[in-house]
Structure formats: structure tokens, C-alpha cells
């Protein structure tokens, strides 16, 4: 079996599994909601993954950009009746625009200072959400009762059908990021993470590369903001706070930094684990905390990263025959 066929087969299985979810858990109800939330978080973690996993920049402003996407969509949809499908690119552009302006300041920062700079940015954007009443509805937020419009004769008003929209964006963003990472730009990003000084000496414009990553990841976050809006039908500032960004970093790290499957696994682990544990609300966070700590101590490279290491080690051991002969 050639690598190409096995790759296609893997894709077929993954797509079939994704497609089958609503049939298994039902088109309406709490379970499909959890599936949607996992998928939304996975896309968010992807978009953060470009920045954090591949380019090594830990941004704490990420949730703020997804907030900008959500508020933009809510405003243009409520005021001018812009459809869901147009909201997606417009929200992305809005988030990218703000990110582009802010990138002038934050790309000058490095490492932990970058994180703190993005913290400051994220927190100030949240304060704007809280205080710009006319647009954001203030601390109370905005209610939003619209559903995605039909397209190609397909109806997207139920949770199950909305799930397909989210899943499709999940797959598309996965493919998009993979393509991006294999491009020259992707190589820049990795160089940026591994050795910024060396990257600079190789003629990579570090500021520009950083700005591009920052803006692209903000754009994808903006798209997720629209999904959040249409799923929860209410947005308020606290959903886009810095702590939300930290939760995302947690998801990326639990899954494994710098891997593609990591964010999905991380989101699933983080959202499903509590369900499996099923404990009273006072004990639950304590246990989650303990599990988090144990995961980090025992699997320092995250779930997926550790699995990769183990898989590689196994293959090297088992491979007596050189690769060409196989």
C-alpha cells in the first residue's frame, strides 16, 4: 500500500467519523452541543497553534480577536441583515485589521514580554467591549437570535446541521494550515520559533514574519467568533477575556505543542475529561487541576507529542529492513 493511498484512507476514515457524529449523538440536544463546542475550540486552538505551536509566540490576546469577530458579525447581521456566510469573511477581515494595527507594537516584543504585551492588548480590547455600549451592549452583551441562512437548498437551523458547518471549517482550516506550514512562510515560522536570531541572520524579516503569523491567526479566530455567536446566540465581554486565551493555550499544550492533531485531542480531552470523571462541583476542579499537573509531569510533550515519540521509537526498533525495501 503506497503512502498516498494510506493517507487517503486515513482521510476517508476521519471524514466519515466527523460526518457520523450527529447520527450517533443526535441532531439536537446537549451531546451535539458538546461536539460543536469541541469543534469550535479545536479551530480556535488551531489558529492559536499557528502562533504558539509553530511560531513559538504565546499570545494572550487570542480570545479578544475572536471577540472582535463575534461582535462584528453580530453588528452587521443585526443592523444590515448581512448573512451568516458573508459574516465569516468580514469578521475575519475585521479581526485581521485590528491585529495588523496592534502588530506594530507587539511584534517588537519577544518571549514572555510578547505574552505580556498581548495580555495588555487583550485586556484593553475587553475593556472596550465592556464600555462601548452602543456597539457591544456593554457588560450585559448582545442577544442574537438569527440562524445561518439556507445555501444551495441546505438548511442550517438545527444544531446538527450547524455542526456540519463547524466541522467543514475545522477540516478546511486544518488543510489550510498544513498547506501554509509546507510553504516558505511556514518554514519562516518554524525558524522564528527555533532560533529568532539565526532566522534574522538568514535574511528572514523577523518583524514581518511575526506580524503575518499574528494577523493570520487573528483572522481565523475572527471566523470562530462568528461560529461562537451563532452557536451560543449571546455574546458578552467575559467570554473573550484573557483567561479564555489561557484556556486555549492549555488545550494546545495538553494536546501537544507544534502538532496538528494536538488541538483536537486537547479540546476533546479538556471538554470530555470532566464528563468522564463526574464529580461534585467542589471536588471537580481540584481533580482537573491534579490531572493537568500529572499530564505535564508525566507527558512533558503533551498527549500527541508523547504518542509521536513513542511511535517513532517503536518504528525505529521494529524496522530492521531499510525503508526503501518496504
Amino acid at each position: 500500500m503506497s503512502a498516498r493511498v494510506s493517507n487517503l484512507a486515513t482521510w476517508a476514515v476521519v471524514l466519515a467519523l466527523l460526518f457520523a457524529v450527529p447520527s450517533v449523538v443526535g441532531f439536537d440536544g446537549a451531546l451535539i452541543n458538546i461536539a460543536v463546542v469541541i469543534a469550535i475550540n479545536a479551530i480556535l486552538a488551531f489558529s492559536l497553534g499557528i502562533l504558539f505551536g509553530y511560531a513559538g509566540q504565546m499570545s494572550l490576546a487570542h480570545a479578544a480577536f475572536y471577540g472582535i469577530g463575534a461582535y462584528t458579525a453580530a453588528n452587521i447581521a443585526l443592523k444590515w441583515g448581512v448573512s451568516f456566510w458573508w459574516c465569516l469573511p468580514i469578521a475575519a477581515l475585521a479581526a485581521m485589521l485590528v491585529a495588523a494595527i496592534l502588530s506594530i507594537v507587539v511584534t517588537r516584543m519577544e518571549g514572555i514580554v510578547f505574552s505580556l504585551g498581548t495580555y495588555a492588548v487583550g485586556e484593553m480590547i475587553r475593556l472596550v467591549f465592556v464600555n462601548w455600549w452602543q456597539v457591544t451592549g456593554g457588560p450585559q452583551g448582545l442577544s442574537f437570535q438569527r440562524r445561518p441562512e439556507s445555501i444551495f437548498g441546505l438548511d442550517f437551523t438545527t444544531r446538527g446541521s450547524f455542526y456540519y458547518v463547524v466541522a467543514a471549517i475545522l477540516v478546511l482550516s486544518y488543510l489550510g494550515i498544513r498547506k501554509l506550514m509546507k510553504s516558505k512562510l511556514g518554514w519562516w515560522f518554524v525558524a522564528l520559533r527555533e532560533n529568532p536570531v539565526l532566522a534574522q541572520s538568514l535574511g528572514i524579516n523577523v518583524h514581518l514574519a511575526k506580524a503575518i503569523v499574528f494577523i493570520l491567526s487573528a483572522g481565523l479566530a475572527g471566523v470562530v467568533g462568528v461560529l461562537y455567536l451563532y452557536n451560543f446566540r449571546h455574546i458578552s465581554p467575559e467570554a473573550f477575556s484573557v483567561w479564555e486565551s489561557i484556556l486555549l493555550i492549555l488545550i494546545v499544550m495538553i494536546g501537544g505543542v507544534g502538532t496538528m492533531a494536538g488541538p483536537i485531542i486537547g479540546a476533546a480531552v479538556f471538554l470530555v475529561l470532566p464528563e468522564v470523571l463526574r464529580l461534585p462541583p467542589t471536588v471537580q476542579p481540584v481533580l482537573i487541576g491534579v490531572v493537568l499537573i500529572l499530564v505535564v509531569v508525566l507527558l512533558p510533550r503533551g498527549v500527541v507529542g508523547t504518542f509521536e515519540d513513542w511511535w517513532k521509537a517503536r518504528r525505529i526498533k521494529g524496522q530492521a529492513v531499510p525503508k526503501e525495501a518496504a
Binding site: 504565546m58 507594537v105 517588537r108 516584543m109 519577544e110 514572555i112 514580554v113 505574552s115 505580556l116 504585551g117 495580555y119 495588555a120 492588548v121 485586556e123 484593553m124 475593556l127 465592556v130 464600555n131 484573557v242 483567561w243 489561557i246 493555550i249 492549555l250 499544550m253 495538553i254 505543542v257 467542589t282 471536588v283 471537580q284 476542579p285 481540584v286 482537573i288 487541576g289 491534579v290 490531572v291 493537568l292 499537573i293 499530564v295 505535564v296 509531569v297 512533558p300
Partner: protein, 289 residues
Amino acid sequence: MTDLIQQLINGLLIGGLYALVALGISLVFGLTGMVNFAHGEVVMLGGYLTFTLTQSFGMPFLGSLVGSLLAGGLLGFAMDRTTFRYTRGTPMNGLVISLGLIMIFQSLAMTIWGTEPLTMDVLFPGAFQQWGLSLSIQKAITLVVTAVLIAGFGLFLVKSRAGRALRALAQEPEAAVYVGIPVERYIALSMVIGTALAAAAGAMFAALFSITPFVGTSLTAKGFIVVALGGMGSAAGTIAGGLLLGVMEALGAGYISAAFTDAYGLLLFLLVLSFKPAGLFGVSGRVKL
């Protein structure tokens, strides 16, 4: 004019507390490169402990403060030995661990003390009133204790053998090994000192204001801002950064609008770091403490 002086006093008071919180962050970050978000939770626990010691056990305030300080140090030691020491090679994992610790500590605090803000009885009634200025005795005590702790910490760093070893370790970690400094022990020591100061800050915080299980997170964020503002790993810079942030917030909230209190410090931070990425007192490169 009177108001301005009053505002400066307000700012220096809260800024001193910020500096106390930030010193521990600066110390641990300088030695290990680790971002410990759970640092603020020690402030919170220190505050609650002081609350319980004074309100329920009738201990005098300064006694409770020392008790919190010691307990904070012990907690820091326990955190380092049970968790953080496994992340020396990958400081980023220390961040995840600290988030786990936040969950545990917040949940514990909610269980023990509830979610409603707790306010201590006025321990030292009365205030100094002069030239239209007023300074409550509690605040005066806070100023003095903060100054003593900061000065003590500074003396420790500069004068003591252990302090010199800590600075050496931060400046040249490999060379520190070659002169025989037991690195692990000293990292644990830095954790102990940092959390002890944080718990003491928490004690004073609880006596001045009110305390909830959620105060720690915003204090951690402020602490990191202070550290970056002053210059990563520079103790003097951290102290200056803390005072500056406090004064900035007080002036902003006092003269512009209270709705953006947190934003003034953040704006200052972004401005400073845009023009001086190493911070106000930071020296670029590896020079620390």
C-alpha cells in the same frame, strides 16, 4: 495640590503591594525562566489565612502577617518540590502546572471561605489627618511593613551569602554550578522567598480591602506587568515598576475615569515596552538581578 499628594500616597501604597507580589515573580522567572501564574493565588491564600487568624483566632495583625508569611513560604516550597521541579527543562510546562494549581487553590478557597467578599473588622481604627491629607493607621502600617519587607529583601540579595548565590545563579547559571552552588536548593529557596513575600502582601491586602477567591489572578497579571515594566529579572526595576504602576493607576482612576482603572497601567506598559523592550531598568542580554 492636596489631592495630588493624596493620590500619590494612594498610588505608592498599592504600588508597594504590587512590588511585593512582583518580586517573587521576578526572582523565580530570573532563575528558571518559568511563568508561575499561581503566584497570585498565594497572595489570595495569604489574605484568607490572615483573615482567619485575626477574625477567628483573635491573633494580632502583625502576628497573623508573620504567620501568613511563613505559611506562604512553606506553600512555595511544597509547590516547587511536588510540581515545578519537574519542569526545569521546559519552563512552558510550568505554566500549565501553575494553571492546574490555580484550579486547586481557587476551589479550596471557595469551599473553605465561600465566594462572597470577606472584609476584616477595622483592626486599627483612626487616621492621621494633617494639611487636608488623611492616612489611616492601617495604611500607615502597611506602608511601613511593605518598606521593611522590600528593604529586607534588598539587603538579603546584596549582603548575604545566599543572596549573592541567588544573583550569581541568575546571572550565570552554568558558572554558578562550577563554584559549587546547589542549583536545585537555591531555586527552591527563591520560590520560598517569593511566595512568602506574596503571602505577606496578601495579608496586608486583606486588611485594607476585601478578599475573594478570585483576587489572585488579576494580581498575578499585574505582577508580571510590573516585572516587565521594570526590566525582566532586575529587583530594583521591579520595585520601581510596582510603584510606578500603582501611581499610574491612582492618577488615572483619580483624574480620568474609574471605568478604565486597569487600562492605565496596561497602556503605560505597552508604551514603555514599545520604546524600551528591555523595560525601564532592564539591561539587554542575560544580565540579571
